[in-house]
Amino acid sequence: MNLISYIVRRLLLMIPMIIGITIALFVVTRIVPVNPLAVILTEKSMDNPASVKAATEKWGLDKSLPEQYFIYLKNLVQGDMGISFKTKNPVTKDIITFLPATIELGIASFIFAILLGLPLGIFAALRAGKFIDHFSRVFALLGASMPPFWSGLLMLFLFYYKLGVLPGPGRVDARIGPPTHATGLFLFDSLLAGDMPAFWSSLSHLILPAIILGWFTLALMARITRSSLIEVLQQDYIRTARAKGLRESAVVVKHALQNALIPMVTIMGLAFAGLMTGAIMTETIFAWPGIGRYAVEASVNLDYPALMGTTLVIAILYMFMNLIVDVLYAVIDPRIREA
């Protein structure tokens, strides 16, 4: 009950934040360019009086700025974010098309980060000061210092061009083609359709981008796991567990690890932000048709409707992610709910 009211309160607090975000985006994209029409129409259709008139009426460009903002907001609430200059599709439709690719890549890289980051952090904590600890520290620092757009190119050069063991850019082999559309997550869709060639092709295409994207998260997880496990292992109840003759593996797994993982929840928000930042670079390098690449193309081509739309959607996703993190934390630690 208490938890539900906490969630409701947090959701209500998000409304003014989202309104603030739309104002910020509106200000950035409407006030900076000289001609507001340039934000809605392509250069070509600006020569066409009919489309200029239609756009002026739809977006209320002959009205005052506050009025224009409310019209923008009204259209937004109805799911209308304008037409992309580049793809000529409604931005909402484009985002729905591109989002699953990013979600699939994000989940894959998160799984990679957990599968490698947790054991690396645990071993670094248990052998603090030894080789594995130093190795994990250097590995983590490399992850935080390496430009993903560069490491991605190196991986492509090595595994695709030189060794030929992994496929190049893209989501699936063009000769095989994507699986029948259900969710847009190719791995899931291909299994659903029983299309095994598409499944293996999508899986092999996922490996390199997931590694590049997951490296930063991996580094974060390994370091947090290490430091919080070291702290927990010094607690009295661990000494008690050891003193009563428990095997070391039981002490670590049953007693220490469960408590050491609590701080992991708090870094999920940070990890998600890292994932989104990395997705922009990784998707560009690997020609991955996700929302990150869409955002980059929109900004390079000055495709204003697409730029505003993707930025808004990413910001809202980010807020929800932070909300989920906070709720998880409130579930684990009841004191948060009271505050």
Binding site: I21, A144, S145, P147, L154, Y161, M276, V300, L307
Partner: protein, 294 residues
Amino acid sequence: MAQSDNIASLKIQKSDAPWKRRVKSLLRNPMAMFGVGIIIFWILVAFLAPVIAPKGPLEQNIGDRMQPPSSQYWFGTDELGRDVFSRVVYGARISLPIGLIVIVFAMIFGCFIGATAGYFGGVYDLLIMRLADITMSFPSIVLALAIAAVLGPSLTNALIAMILVWWPEYARLMRGQVLSVRNNEYVAAAVLLGASQSRILFRHILPNTFGPILVKASLDAGSAILNIAALSFIGLGAVPPTAEWGAMISTGRYKFYNWWMTTFPGLAILSVVLGFNFFGDGVRDAFDPRTNKS
């Protein structure tokens, strides 16, 4: 006699200020000093670029296009026959200052706003902090991308975009610091002595808040350089033919089989960022006694 000697020596020890202790602990940290070494190396490269580089950064030699590394071209040549080694060397003159400018300006701007918000409070504080919340509700590169795109592709605009995205982190930190310091007795004493508001803020409060700010700035320097390189890579920062590392990787990406075109500028970014990260970790350890031991 012996006793008074002891007391004298005690007095001398007491004069060791906290910041002195921190600098000493930083100087004793081999990882941090390794980082400083890398940074000094690149600063020297930037200053001595005309001496070190055998060719100009924009000097073309079409006859020698896309040559792999050799004794003549240590890092090979690019699609216009420019010497990659010379371009990497000259690139230090862009990435280093740009990264530092972003951090310094975001820090000054953010600290000023955060300090005044924390000190004066009220509606001003409320508005500033909501603006900070909104800015921070975007993953920073996403907002920087949008701002840089709207302003138009150039290194200056990328710089402005990064500062606009980064100031709230400093403002928030600074505001918290000011709020915790302003309730100290010595601030009340200054008020009673009739000191002016600006004197209290700048002479009594601010000098006691800089520790965490400096730690954050040194931890952030690496990612500032990384993000500027990323914007240039996308095409919203330095534009061709500028010898900027991110832009160099960008032109080399469609010819990634010519590995030297991307590998060497990438290694340059990696080493600089690594240097700043080593140094930042060291500064944090020196200021936070809890992480000192582990």
